[in-house]
Symmetry: none
Subunit: 246 residues, 2 copies
């Protein structure tokens, strides 16, 4: 006989649903979150704004009531230090590092003691778009079959949450794993984009591609919050100089 | 970059739904089974006999079509060598050994090579009854919170199936990418130092300290050779712009 409850604290874990279409799925996500003790639900551009009434949130109306709505993905993850996307694509050439859920769980559990971690789920039909993925440090994939890889949204959330609480060991926080907030990464990206545009590096025709490429590259740097602050300060000064001279 | 598909063979794994009420849940169970490669669905005394039409079985109509119906639980598990029940009860005095899902997964995976293993899920409202549990060798529990332990049926199935295939995931990593050469890191550092000096970020008095601090920071970025080349290109352009304007 044993007693089995999760001891992993998911206070810092943020579930972000990007452009979800079906309110019933959002409710079912809230239920899974409540089951595993995750409270922070963020919804970016829900197709149906009346999702808070979803009956599928059995026993989890508080999660749904407190869900935060955002107009942009950048805003939804701005205060998070690690942003991870989910994908059902396991083989195509992705522009991001791809980890198994198990491996991702180990990393995320460790990072949760240092700050908020966001896990992103794309819309039911198409998942996360390439542009949305650029906000992520890396991606995880649940090991579904190649022939039928696309999961129900709330089931995917449930499986990911289970992996987060599965191992009952609470890992200790390591100082060097304290990454910059996504909002600062985005500020860094925007400053850099501005500098590149002004200095003629970016061609207007390819601006969008550069934008996405750059956002990914900045996330790959995995800056610590201390270093991130310094990099931001340096870039601000350089941009100020360029702008003043124009 | 890695490729993540399950290799655990679930041919011998039987999902048994006992007295399920909602056909949509049955369809959603079929979808989860198809996602993880489990084919054998057995349904005992479904409340709604028209469950085979459930639209929720997205991409899994074959699992639903081949589902077997039984009048009694005893018949449904008759050809199985191990019968495991699921429960959301984690503390009450049960008459059965209770294992964590993780522990259960280890045992079930081992037993799958020897014969069929049945995993039983009770009805949505009450779970498995005491009588139904008597058909089980032991029980497993998904580590949900005590305060909200009852999961959506299909989500519970998805989480259990994930645990079955989890550790057998193949994760093939691309050979570790080479980092940039030290010479390029130094070129990057020098360009940056120049930009910072010209833009007034560096005070001459503290130039040497900045120099050292920056060199360390650039190394901490651990740039890949591909990314490093792009960062160098961007920085060159920005520096060129600043210099031209002076």
């Amino acid at each position: 006989m044993c007693v089995v409850y999760p001891t992993q604290n998911l206070n810092q874990f943020v579930v972000v649903l990007v452009a979800p279409r079906n309110p019933l799925n959002i409710g079912a996500v809230a239920r899974a979150m409540s089951n595993f003790g995750a409270q922070k639900l963020r919804v970016v551009n829900a197709y149906d704004v009346a999702f808070r009434e979803a009956k599928s949130a059995v026993g989890a109306s508080d999660v749904l009531t407190r869900a935060e709505e955002f107009r942009s993905l950048a805003d939804a993850v701005a205060d998070c230090r690690l942003v991870v996307g989910t994908t059902s694509v396991g083989h195509r050439n992705l522009n991001h590092p791809l980890r198994t859920l198990e491996e991702a769980g180990r990393i995320i559990r460790r990072r949760l003691s240092a700050g908020q971690v966001a896990l992103l789920f794309g819309s039911e039909k198409v998942g996360l778009t390439t542009e949305q993925m650029t906000h992520c440090h890396w991606l995880l994939r649940i090991p579904t079959r190649e022939q039928h890889s696309s999961m129900n949204l709330a089931q995917a959330v449930a499986v990911c949450l289970y992996e987060m609480v599965r191992s009952k060991t609470i890992s200790r926080h390591k100082a060097e794993e304290d990454g910059i907030r996504a909002g600062d990464a985005e500020r860094f990206t925007q400053l850099l984009l501005h500098a590149l545009a002004v200095s003629g590096y970016t061609k207007p025709a390819s601006a969008e591609a550069t934008d996405q490429k750059l956002r990914r590259m900045v996330r790959r740097l995995q800056l610590s919050s201390k270093d991130g602050e310094i990099w931001l300060g340096m870039l601000r000064q350089i941009v100020w100089k360029i702008d003043r001279q124009r």
